[in-house]
Subunit: 159 residues, 2 copies
């Protein structure tokens, strides 16, 4: 396959992020008692709302605790040979029970579950992407950066 | 779907790990200059040889450097609703150019590329799983641990 143009990759990435019932692989990190960094990785349902990645997580989960401690996550969406990867920072953490309807309805509208139905304490974590990469095969490694410093590169080009 | 038995999950996990041209999501961690743990995550081709996960990586890649520094990775295989996740430790790092034929042929026999064809320095990283989890949907969260302390739980049960 020919490598895609920037605009095609961006359109494909946004379409993927808006897919109903899409899951992402969410990687986070912590520092163990031995002082060694340790990665965690879980699949999670996600929503893409107002240019933000939104996760819903049990408040006591390791992923939620890692994001609270480090303020960041790396999230991958798509099969391994058609990936979108975002390095994102925590913008807002909201208890599900106290979340504004816009956020909770938006999440439930894209995901195939509604964390408001959970009995345990859940959080919405609103993550702001700082860097987004997208590629399919080796011939798309060049040009894989779509967003840098929180700005889509086509928007940056106009400034 | 009914939750699978332990033996079915183990058989499915091994079949998945042995799939030709299978990729995994490889999560690693480092500690930044700011002292904060940071996760990295990339898709990589993998092979399952002698109960070990084998990766082939550019020696200067962030994932290779993180595994060298921390001795560990967390690797996920399969789609997000039929996952196998392994917490694994680095057992051996071998320059591709100096690798024994058994390792290099074994890797190339499962993966759909051969790192011996690369011009840059590549490493085989042989990772020993310490913990393996497998689940499809929420009804399989219970019983998702297949291996603990490097031992399959059905082997452990007999000891």
């Amino acid at each position: 396959m020919e490598p895609r143009s920037f605009s095609q990759r961006k359109a494909d990435a946004l379409a993927l992020l808006r897919t109903p019932a899409i899951d992402g692989w969410v990687a986070t990190a912590s520092i163990g008692g031995d002082g060694i960094a340790r990665a965690h990785l879980v699949p999670l349902s996600l929503a893409w709302l107002n240019d933000r990645l939104v996760l819903a997580l049990a408040a006591d989960s390791l992923t939620a605790r890692n994001i609270a401690a480090t303020g960041a996550a790396r999230v991958a969406v798509g099969p391994t040979r058609n990936v979108v990867i975002a390095d994102a920072v925590l913008e807002r953490s909201v208890e599900v029970a106290k979340a504004p309807a816009e956020l909770a309805d938006g999440y439930a509208g894209q995901a195939d579950w509604d964390p408001r139905t959970e009995r345990e304490p859940y959080l919405f974590l609103v993550l702001r992407p700082e860097r987004i990469l997208a590629w399919r095969e080796a011939n798309e490694i060049a040009g894989r950066t779509l967003m840098r410093g929180g700005v889509w590169l086509d928007d940056l080009a106009g400034t």
